[in-house]
Symmetry: C2
Subunit: 405 residues, 2 copies
């Protein structure tokens, strides 16, 4: 098999841990696989580098030179990629490390949040054929002109997935400090079970709602490039969770997981003029300020007036209220409810099963939980409830769909 | 003027200090000069990186992969060179930073102690013409094949001198945490004075004996490339010491400085067979083991026997004694004297003045100090004495040649 393994900052946090992950790398190599390893910087290093850069920010020059910033930011991965190669060689294995640029990761020129445009795979492929274990610095690439770039948050995962796609690896293993993807947050429901498999689509819905094993950007790229992702724990030998396409999952449960999001607030606009295009103008205006509106409910108009409810991230409340002032001649009143939670069930099996919504609402009713807003997609049902019932709701849903079995 | 400035690890040890040195850079730029800046890693960073590498040393693989080690070792300078550029730009100056490779520093392939073979200056020259302050990572270069190399101890000074020579800079300023070169160590003689000027030759003699402002490797390259070196203090605005060719120094004092070296030991071989070629064989054998023999005195032979005395670094005593066992059939006895000091006076003026040796020996006699060995060159007189008199000797010589004036 051709395997890409990616190790995050805690997995390479010091020399002992680097030695520890080499055992996993060597195990794969000994099993006869070809192995490419992508590494992050030592945990804490990138934060320290960000602080250095921020020191030089001031009002006249608020953005430190992004080209130079990327030189600073990419230095942490240069250290770890070479140390992993040294550690492997000191145990008698052929290993070589490459910068993102040397590995052929070509990006656009948007420094500090570059996008991968292309991967020139010849160097990696040749080295694998010469029996090398190839270590690549994550989080970084280079423009066609050779300037070093970095890929923004979660960039090392992205490097790994993109390389796995480009060299058509059989699997891309993402090592973190948790065992995989769970049916729900084990801190809320101790009966939560680790999933063996989950589809890209389900993972995207779960990740966007708090299961922070992988950023959506990486899952989306894995889906696009058809890369089999496995999230595993670098501190044990457990199996992890395979994230793959629906077709690869034989038994599709109706519900795969329950997600909870407590970072939303609800804005309610009362007695808004019920004319075509007014809601559109409001949402356009919010979008222009990069405010991410999630769920929207509009009541049926009566007497030329309507009520409009929607949810936004709590961090955007002040800005949202200010923007809505521009529309104050069109409505009576605005209310803001901080104390809400969004509970969602996610599962590709919903596509082929009817009655999921009703069983979900029954579960809430049985617990006397009032549902304020409902949103649905093909593979997800989300409900806004009072946040005091958040934990009760998650546990009730987890039980309803037998996720503890 | 075209100026190269080099700042060491303590001068860029944190963000405040980086901001501090930008004031010196900006001052030079504002005065109308073109400025190239060479920087070391933050003090302590390279030591930390060395420790990381050493962690992976073990008996079977005692030398961690040098190619990968150089990737690790060069990372500290990548951070500082970009931060200095960021700091300058945040104050409104055009600045750009380059890796050693980008700056055109081509070395041989001897990783971790590479030698500079060539500097391709076009990039630096073009950027200077576009009015940029150009920052270059010290201590690093690249092979013609593009592999990153490091230059070994004192490598950043070497980068600065080599660049200054290649772009024909008017001056190369080496900033450290001392004011310049002194007539002798101020901890021994409080009356020691900072020298305004000194010749390359004198500096080489002083540096090899303990005035550790600059390693000889850099002074030798400055001499070869005819670079005017100035060592200055990055923490104040004092003038520093100019190190230049003899012709540029109008008034050549007889003695420029007094040096003290307490790291030597004396080996005495008694009653060695006085046959041609025996001493040569002994010194060849020591040289083959990289033992640096400094002063040598052989008595006139009598009855087919001679006494041979020489000095070596104290760290090499055990190895030297072991090597000399191979010759034990040729002599009666070996003695080793740890408690010696080498005191030297250095000055280009000696070339044209007679009587320097006698005034020097008189000064010792006046203090009742016995001279065990004497060595001379065109610009230096060295004496081995008992180390208990080291300080007295230095102060007496300092006074004899009016170095406190």
């Amino acid at each position: 098999m051709l395997i890409v393994q990616k190790y995050g900052g805690t997995s390479v946090g010091n020399c002992e841990r680097i030695n520890n992950i080499t055992q996993k790398i060597i195990k794969a190599k000994k099993a006869g696989h070809q192995v490419v390893v992508v590494v992050s910087a030592m945990s804490g290093d990138t934060d320290k580098l960000v602080q250095f850069i921020q020191y030089f920010q001031h009002t006249d020059y608020p953005i430190p030179n992004p080209r130079e910033s990327d030189v600073v930011l990419s230095s942490g991965e240069q250290i770890t990629r070479a140390l992993v190669a040294i550690a492997l060689e000191s145990q008698g294995y052929k290993a070589i490390s490459l910068s993102g640029k040397e590995a052929g990761i070509i990006t656009d020129g948007i420094h500090t949040k570059a996008r991968i445009e292309q991967i020139q795979t010849d160097k990696i492929i040749n080295l694998l054929q010469e029996d090398y274990i190839v270590i690549v610095a994550g989080f970084q690439g280079a423009t066609t002109k050779g300037a070093t770039t970095t890929l923004g948050r979660g960039g090392s995962d992205l490097s790994a997935v993109a390389i796995a796609g480009a060299i058509q690896a059989d699997v891309c293993e993402i090592y973190t400090d948790v065992d995989g993807v769970y049916t729900t947050d084990p801190r809320i429901e101790p009966q939560a079970k680790k999933l063996d498999k989950i589809s890209y689509e389900e993972m995207l819905e779960l990740a966007s709602m708090g299961a922070k094993v992988l950023l959506n950007r990486s899952v989306e790229m894995a889906k696009k490039l058809n890369v089999n992702l496995i999230t595993r724990n670098s501190f044990n030998d457990n199996e992890g969770t395979l994230i793959t396409s629906e077709e690869n999952i034989m038994e599709q449960p109706i519900v795969s997981g329950v997600a909870l999001d407590k970072n939303q607030a609800r804005i309610s606009i009362s007695n808004l003029n019920d004319e075509p295009g007014i809601a559109a103008k409001i949402f356009e205006s919010l979008s222009a300020h990069n405010i991410n509106v999630d769920m929207i409910v509009q009541t049926i108009g009566r007497d030329g007036k309507t009520d409009l409810d929607f949810t936004i991230p709590k961090t955007e409340i002040a800005l949202t209220q200010q923007i809505l002032k521009d529309f104050s001649h069109l409505y009576d009143q605005i209310d803001c409810d901080y104390n809400i939670a969004k509970v969602s069930i996610v599962g590709v099996g919903m596509k082929s099963h009817s009655g999921v919504a009703s069983s979900c609402f029954s579960a809430m009713a049985k617990e006397n939980i009032n549902i304020m807003m409902i949103g649905t997609s093909e593979i997800k049902i989300s409900m806004i409830i009072s946040d005091e019932y958040a934990q009760t709701a998650v546990r009730a849903l987890h039980k309803t769909y037998n996720l503890d079995r």
